[in-house]
Symmetry: C2
Subunit: 235 residues, 2 copies
DNA sequence: CACGGTAGGTGTACGCCGTACACCTGTCAA
DNA sequence: TTGACAGGTGTACGGCGTACACCTACCGTG
């Protein structure tokens, strides 16, 4: 009968199709109306069908994040580190404007997805290649923080979490798991530098307060310089 | 009987008691387990009792934000603008670390609550008093953005929204409502400067792209300066 | 060709959520 | 004394995420 024919004609579900539909739904109707039920309806399928392709809603969100992070332009080479980073951050910003739900989603979830780590890894690589020391690169990543993607403090925790499952527990200072270190060498390099250069202070690997003040003073000093020079709006 | 006596002994509910309990619950058990039901239980009361004091859960969250923003140290005077702002931003950061749920809550809601506007207003006032032009102050607020509270672009929209109700609609470029302008003169001053200095471009009052690049370049230039100087980590 | 396993879509049900609405009760002004 | 009203209660509804049992179409193997 007709119903069966329609069933057969229907393109089958797949993780990819689900993620795309979810991104489209969040873009169009707002993240707050992205429910498993609405999404299923959009795909002409019963809600529970989705669970054959994504473990649960959190994993769905992680997948969506990977999709949109994948939209960020790759790093261009053949120019200085500054224009390259600048171009890429602006590309990330455009992505965030196409998907207004994304920055909140990224901030509210841990950032351990491979796509996000890959993005950060290549960013760190560009800074290192540009001649910044591991230390400076580390602090710069914190300083750029929210402009880069909206992340704040938990880079290394997230990297350590990668590949693990279970609830997010307060992380003891531990080295990155080796498979993470291999896939994201620049992240690993920075993490290593951060964890042995703070000498006496036990563990921790990353002094949040210092990072925060570093970025704050970078801004405040730059602002004061502009003020001294009697800065006025361009145009 | 005993139940009645207990009832009488119970301190009565009040908006304030509810907000404090909600903040404590979110601090202790995480924002995800702050439900009207849990909160009511904490207060030894039936869930619907809360609705006699707060309109709904969103208003509860707004109230909680006001409570924690009220914890930020006031501006100190008698020193330069830079140390004053620095001290205050660090105080805001401490508050955000005491209440880890707050930064997400603030970012995910519009910022039109009086406490938040008051905080921003005094910050703007300090910058102006420090000798920054209205333009520069405006851009600086965007540049400090996430360090100040986690807000990103929507300052003036939020201010316009203040006192209004109903769903957040895309805001046509409109002047701030007079009662807002009176209470928060520094916000108003910056808004006015932003809306007439962009000349030909119709409306808009605030060029997001420009603001973003301003802050980004402030950071990138500062970083390049450090790199040139062969920056190494302070002891 | 038969057949059993398996991948993937279905249906039902549970416990949580926010909150509308009707109700009760104690207090206080007139 | 009364009656309005502020404030706590109880019930109920629709939506959510998802556990679990089921059904069915396919496919590799004998």
């Amino acid at each position: 009968m007709a119903e069966q024919a329609e069933k057969l004609r229907r393109t089958p579900l797949s993780r990819d199709r689900i993620l795309r539909a979810a991104v489209a739904l969040a873009d169009g109707a707002g993240i707050e109306s992205l429910s498993m039920r609405n999404l299923a309806q959009e795909l002409d399928v019963v809600p529970m069908a989705l669970y054959k392709h994504v473990a649960n809603k959190d994993e769905l969100l992680d997948g969506m994040i990977d999709v949109v992070v994948g939209e960020i332009d790759p790093l261009t080479s053949g120019e200085g580190w500054q224009p390259a980073i600048r171009r890429r951050v602006l590309s990330a910003r455009q992505m965030l404007r196409r998907h207004p739900w994304a920055s909140l989603a990224i901030e509210s979830r841990n950032m351990a997805t491979p796509a996000v780590l890959g993005y950060l890894d290549s960013m760190i690589g560009a800074l290192r290649a540009g001649g910044l020391s591991t230390d400076l690169t580390h602090h710069v990543m914190h300083a750029l923080g929210s402009r880069i993607l909206g992340f704040s403090q938990e880079l290394f925790d997230a990297a350590r979490q990668a590949g693990r499952s279970g609830p997010i527990a307060p992380q003891p200072p531990a080295p990155l798991p080796p498979e993470v270190a291999l896939r994201f060498p620049h992240v690993a390099e920075i993490a290593a530098a951060a964890s042995h250069d703070d000498g006496s202070v036990v563990g921790q690997g990353c002094d949040d307060q210092f990072e925060f003040e570093f970025a704050l003073d970078l801004l405040l000093d730059g602002i004061e310089r502009l003020r001294e020079q009697g800065w006025t709006a361009p145009r």
